[in-house]
Symmetry: C2
Subunit: 338 residues, 2 copies
């Protein structure tokens, strides 16, 4: 029925162990032998049994993508990252599991234990805000499970991928300033997310650099959701000196801001400039199309997984890769008229 390693061994005239060595790319196999075995594997269409490898060996060739689905119900962001991770996994014949975790709740870390123990996971890709959960990281280390992070807050001794979000946010706000805006508000994301911190810091840095004061009234809390953008915008619109531009910490909230602007009859960008962050598909689908910062989620997923696999396969130095950002200046921002 199934072609087993033993079959390949017999066909090649070597021992099963040698075939195993070839399969696992172990060093001490004579080149001629390796070629013979490889050829036999190919022609017999041999495919190793993950179950057997996992059971017998110390590796499972399984990686998991972990995410917090308290704050992230089925977002495009995660779907794209997942696609990227999958890409890298397939390239190296690893399999991927997706594991939503509810970061709130006591059994959160135990879920990880279960996962890791059950499936013998070799490594995980962590998405924010899991990337900086101390307990989680500690637990993974205890289990000897490697991990790569996407946009982690702490960069020390971490492998993965990140973007200079603060600089990007700063550039974006500087662009608003360049358009003549002086009253620029900011809708903050979920408090303890790195993304919120960096984007807010960038906002402040740009204002300061432009010699503008930072008005606490112009900084309102949001939660990365469309709805929270609506709430924040309503609050901002009641201010006596209404902002002429609003920088929302992500596209969803920016969409909420634009929606609210429409609701009260403000015309974007004539009466109000709006910009977001992430460049989700929605950004180009809104009217007017949204000025934002491109964050290539899929590529980030791919790179993070790539670094993780580098580590797992003992192939040289995995590192924290920086990925460039890109401003997307579109129709939702314009010069302030006077």
């Amino acid at each position: 029925m199934r072609v087993r390693l033993e079959d390949v061994a017999r066909a090649t005239g070597v021992s099963p162990k040698t075939v195993s060595r070839v399969l696992n790319e172990e060093p001490s196999v004579k080149e001629a032998t390796r070629q013979k075995v490889l050829a036999a594997m190919e022609s017999m269409n041999y495919r190793p049994s993950p179950a057997a490898r996992g059971l017998a060996g110390s590796r499972s060739f399984l990686v998991a993508m972990l995410y917090d689905n308290n704050d992230n119900p089925a977002s495009t962001y995660l779907a794209e990252i997942q696609d990227g991770v999958l890409d890298s996994c397939e390239a190296h014949r690893y399999s991927m599991m997706v594991c939503p975790l509810r970061m709130r709740g006591k059994d959160f870390v135990r879920r990880v234990d279960a996962l890791v123990t059950d499936h013998h996971i070799d490594g995980v890709v962590l998405t924010p805000p899991l990337t900086d959960n101390r307990k989680l990281l500690a637990r993974l280390q205890e289990h000897g499970v490697a991990y790569a992070c996407i946009s982690p807050v702490r960069h020390k001794d971490v492998v993965g991928v990140f973007m200079d979000e603060q600089k990007a946010a700063s550039d974006l706000v500087t662009h608003l300033v360049g358009l003549g805006h002086r009253c620029i508000a900011h809708v903050v994301g979920i408090a303890d997310h790195g993304a919120s911190r960096w984007r807010q810091a960038g906002y402040k840095a740009a204002l300061t650099a432009a010699g503008l004061a930072i008005d606490p009234q112009y900084i309102v809390q949001g939660g990365f959701t469309f709805g929270s953008g609506v709430v924040a915008a309503r609050q901002l619109f009641t201010l006596k000196r209404r902002p002429t531009a609003i920088f929302a910490a992500n596209d969803d909230m920016a969409a909420g801001v634009m929606w609210t602007a429409n609701e009260i009859g403000l015309k974007v960008p004539r009466d109000l400039s709006v910009c977001g962050f992430d460049d989700t598909p929605m950004a180009t689908q809104l009217w007017p199309s949204l000025t934002t910062v491109r964050q290539p989620s899929r590529e980030m997923g791919r790179l993070a997984a790539q670094q993780l696999l580098l580590q797992l396969r003992g192939r040289g130095d995995a590192r924290l890769v920086q990925i460039p950002y890109e401003l997307q200046l579109r129709a939702s921002t314009a010069a302030v008229p006077d």
Copy 2:
């Protein structure tokens, strides 16, 4: 280190095989024994090794969610279904893998072979348009892999979940007629998708029922993407008798239509009513919010997986579940003024 089945057996004073029986919910175990074993498992925090179970037994407790990622790059629709499938899997201690498949290309079916053979997959959840790929279904049957379908075209001998999309579309268009619209256009989805066929059929049925003629000019081809909605709308807007309402076969295309309306200065819903289908998150985030049909993707994923597991666990009759639709009448549709 790890708690094994044997450890539980020793602690309980029974043979490993009996513990195995309890684990697999086999019938012939005395209730008292079962309870003892269950208690021991619990207190020892025993978790079976999926690798060992897969290797030794005939089941892997693994299901895969298959989708075609040629036409579906990282959509919310799939992400939600995935969430739902995951829900059901976890409820029954099954694991899930996600498997993008490129339906174009020769090795498409071989990818499935690989998947199934490699991981010994017990069953798969199929999403459109995979649900009706004859070759795929045949191959799965050959492999003895059970499957459940989400919105399959053919309903005969199929397990899974579906909605009466034709009726829903018809209701929606009837609603437009009720608002006084007589020139109602339709943007069709990808040609061979069931969704496209049903929605178009519903459109036609509603017009016919209302005694309105079906004008081929008012039916334009789209591809389920925002961009294709834009293209379709531009085409419709050049017509001498411009439609007063456009029913797009999904929300993405409806968003494209609305975007294009904005582009040429048409005000929705004053100058044009627009409606979509699916009720993606975007529907409420557009301005004006989109009239559409609610399709509970997550619930559908959950139900499909549930039926699949019913089948896998030999628990009675899995079937094709019908799920009710729900019209979401929002701000993008209004009475035609005269």
